[in-house]
Structures are given as C-alpha cells and as structure tokens.
Subunit: 323 residues, 2 copies
Amino acid sequence: VGATEFELIRHFTAPFGAPRPPSGPGDDCAVLPPARGQLCVTTDAVVEGVHFTRRHFSFEDIGHKALAVNLSDLASMGARPSWFVCAIALPGGIEVDGVRAMARGMARLARANRVALVGGNFTRAPQLSLTLTAAGEVPKGAALLRGGGRAGDALYVSGVLGDARLGLACLGMERAPHAQARQRRPQPRVRLGLLARRFATACIDVSDGLAGDLGHLRKASRAGAEVDLGRLPVSRELRAAAADDAWRWALSGGEDYELLLAVPELRARAFERACRAARERVTRVGRLTRGTALVFRHPGGHPVRAPRSFDHFAQFDGAVSQS
Amino acid sequence: VGATEFELIRHFTAPFGAPRPPSGPGDDCAVLPPARGQLCVTTDAVVEGVHFTRRHFSFEDIGHKALAVNLSDLASMGARPSWFVCAIALPGGIEVDGVRAMARGMARLARANRVALVGGNFTRAPQLSLTLTAAGEVPKGAALLRGGGRAGDALYVSGVLGDARLGLACLGMERAPHAQARQRRPQPRVRLGLLARRFATACIDVSDGLAGDLGHLRKASRAGAEVDLGRLPVSRELRAAAADDAWRWALSGGEDYELLLAVPELRARAFERACRAARERVTRVGRLTRGTALVFRHPGGHPVRAPRSFDHFAQFDGAVSQS
C-alpha cells in the first residue's frame, strides 16, 4: 500500500532541516512572523507530461525545477525569498525513495536561496505534479513591477536565451548537455533581482519566451520596444545547433527563467558595473520606445513590425515579433 | 483548441471583483502590504476522483470546496482570512463556462469571508485539480495551535459530525440531501475560530475524522483524552440513516471541517455563552486527561482504551479508538 501521508511528510521534510520559528510544518497552518516589508507572493505548478517527464527528469530535477520556477517569479520582483509551501499530487507508483529525491533536489536550491519550507500537502493523483506557493519580501515601494518602464530605458536580459528550448529538443540524446541541464535545472536569478532593484524601472522573468514576455512588459509600461536580434545572448551549444537561426530559439524559446530588465539610460553604466562586480551576466538587447510597437531588428538589416499575435515557435517566419 | 491562459485568467478573476492594493493578479507576483500580526499559511488541494467527481459535484461546488478546505485550516488557528492564491490544473474538455462556474462558487465563499484572490496559475493536466494557498492574520502569540491543551480542559466540537461522510455515501441518491450538501459545500468555521481565540488553549479542524484529529491534538498537547460517544453531535439525517451506529460515522467520518477545541474548565461557561450569542453551535464531548490514553466511552457503558492505530471506517468494531 505504500507509505502513509505522515511518513511521506516526514521523508519529504527531512532534507530541509529544522523549520524556522515560531512554527513550521506540523500544525494546521504555518505561523510566520510579520514581514518587515511588502510581501511578494507567487504560485506555480510543474506537471508530469507538461513540464517534465519521468523518463528524462530525475526526481531531484523535478524537485529543483518546481522551486526554481517559483523563485524566478520572486527574482523578477526584486524580492528576497522568505518561505514557500509545497503541495504534491503523487501517483501510486512513486515510493519513498522518489519523494526523498524530490525533496533533496528542492532542498539544495532552497538552501542556496535561504528560503524555508514552512508547509505542504500530499494528495493521491494519477499524475505527478508539484504546486508551490512562494513568498519574498521587498522594502515598501521597491518591488520591481512590469509596468514601471519608460520610453528610452535600455533593455537587458540575464544569462543566455534559448538553451532550455534546445535542451527540451535534445532530451535523451547525447547532444547539448549544458542546454539539457538548463531545461532540467533552471537557475532563478534571485541575486540579480535584488541587485537590479537599485537600478531597474521594470522587470519580468522570461518564462514564455522573450518575445512574449517583452510584450507583457511593454504593454504594462505603456511603451513600445525595439530589440536588436543580433545582440541576443546565446550559448555556444545553441549557435552550433541552430547557426543563423539561433536568435529564433532565443526569442521564442520558453523556460529560460532569465530576467528582462528596463534600466534608465543614465543608470545603465552603473548597472553594468554592478553586474560585473557581482558576476551576474547581463546583455543589453534593445530599448523601450515611444508608442506601442514591438520591433525586432534582424541581424542583417531592416526593422520588422510586430504582427498581432505570437504564440508558438511554429508561427515563426522571416518577420518575428509580437503585438 | 479552447481559451488561452490569459482568457482563462480573465474569466476566472471576473467574479472576484477588483484586487486589493497595492497589486493583485497580473504581475509576476502579487504584492501585499505587510501583515500587522503573525501570518498563518496553509496549502490544500482538491483533486478530481479523490475529493470530488464531476458527476456528483457542480463546478460551483468544486470551487467552493477548494477554498473551504483551506479556510477551515485558517479557522482552526483562529486566523482572520486575508488572501489566497489558486492554481488550477485544467483538463482539455473543460471550457470557459466551467471555469467561470468554479470561480463563482469560490468567489461567493471568498466574499462571505472577506478573503481576496491575489494570484493564481493555470496549467493543462489530464485531471482537474485546484491547489490553493491561503493566509490569515492573528495578533502576536494568539494563533490557536494544536499543542496548547492541558489535562482538565473541556473538549468541544462545532456543528455536527459525520454528515459529510453520510453525504459521500448518498451522492446521486435521493437520500440525506442536507448531508450531501455538507459533502459538496463544507462550511469553514472562520467566525468560531476568531471567537474561540479568546477562550481555547488548542484547536484543530476535523478533516480526517474526529478520532484521528483528536489524536493529533492530544499528542501535540502531551495529554490524554476522553470522549463520551453518546454526546457526539449528529444530524437527524445521520441518526435516521445509522441509528445506534451514528457515533461511528461521527467519529471517523472525514471531511467534516468542524473545529475541535480545548477550553479550560474555568472558561467553559463563558465560552458556551459567547458561542450562543454568536449563534455558533458547539457541543461539549469530553476532556483532556493526564497521561497519553485516548479513551472513547460507549453510549451504554464502560471505557475502551485505544488500540495502536486507526485509519479507516473498515477497522471499526466494538472497541473504537486511536493511539
């Protein structure tokens, strides 16, 4: 019959160490001290067959990814992660070893970001899924919203784009090992988000592809945007795999969990210096503009205006853009 | 292909009214003002085929139940509900109408308890499930924990017990309509929890059956407990259905979402008066004792000591109890 819920909870919480005072898992609710600043809260799920498969992801990977996608949302607000709760829907076939491995993968990332597991829930279900809610703190008025950008602000992205999408395409093959690792274990840019709060006017995490997420930032900021496709940061693996089409993967990939930031021109130099000092890679890729147009400039040449909608890689052709 | 995620979000959030400042759904995170007191946080899921079926539950029922089970956890802490986030895993076959109906059922209960939807998430999945995280506030040190009870405290339960279990057995039949309603739309005892904070030393919500949940309270409070089975509050429907065995359903039912409270003897009268004034039904069913034994006294006669473990209704026979 397998483990009881209480045994599962005990196994799952073991690698997270002792809960913080005043009260962690064990009562009907976690009881947390009042936050000093504003509280940023996000909830995100990873579902078997949608966000991962058990064939290509280890249980550690699954635990890591479930927390990473939530921490990425906190990072994009410039929030300092504080606590999270974890609800797991568990198919009958997964035993205690699998639960412990998910916990290990999650706990390692939690420790690295000093975020505490304070509660959770197990239910039975035919499909494995993990639904987390994570909270972080920001000083009053300091949360990095999507809508604070202004025409003229420089646009930066962190890390490289498109690797997670390449990794997805290569799962199970002997190609692009780094890209596969990015697909399995995305790295939320928490430290960069905290740093960026001092410089940026707006931020979003790039989870649905740069084109789509820039669309959200642009719209919330009531601005247009221009992106120089030749500047999009891509890895050697992606360049090797996609050659001149690397920018397409970078633009539409999905699951990058990098940050897209708007920084006023006057602060751009200082921002770049601070990022270098903190060893956070950022690349200037364009700027916010007057109006509402979203324009992507081809590496070779002329600007292309955005068509009305953009959803999937399949829709790509010469003109790449989004409303 | 159905609605996009953005359309689903728009339809789902519509019945909840405007989000509270400073920021509700729409950014990467909700941004919430600092809590004045301690924050109680809980997460709980309802899963198709486990907690409901679409055959016997309307979408309104499902939305109601998903929030109710979370509010019940807040009630048991004596917390005032403040906000919640809602992650929905949606099978392909459910259209916008179903999503709107779930939202309506949830929004009605949210309004009644003045709790704000501040964020959420949609994913595709083969099985419908709703995973909510809810938070409420308590003044410092005022949370009603499981572990505050002392030997001698009177034990109270709210409402009636066993109806949800009876309702589950009768779903789809023309019997026990009130019990079926209790199964579909449990009523979290939020007001009672707030009131009880002034009197009770310990509290837990009765979600897994009184026997099991009293076991948790007793253990956390390092006490024993005695329950007079003849005093367990049961409905007319349950008495009609189960006659002399009604107490068995009341003891092990599950999904009651009533509160079990420990109140010092000296405060018991005042507590009962306050409940009467607030029209909150509570029934004294026993007391905490020295030692660790959990004893259930039969309506007829002699005490029976708890066997080592107790999980399901199937394990019942003459001696009913739990370690």
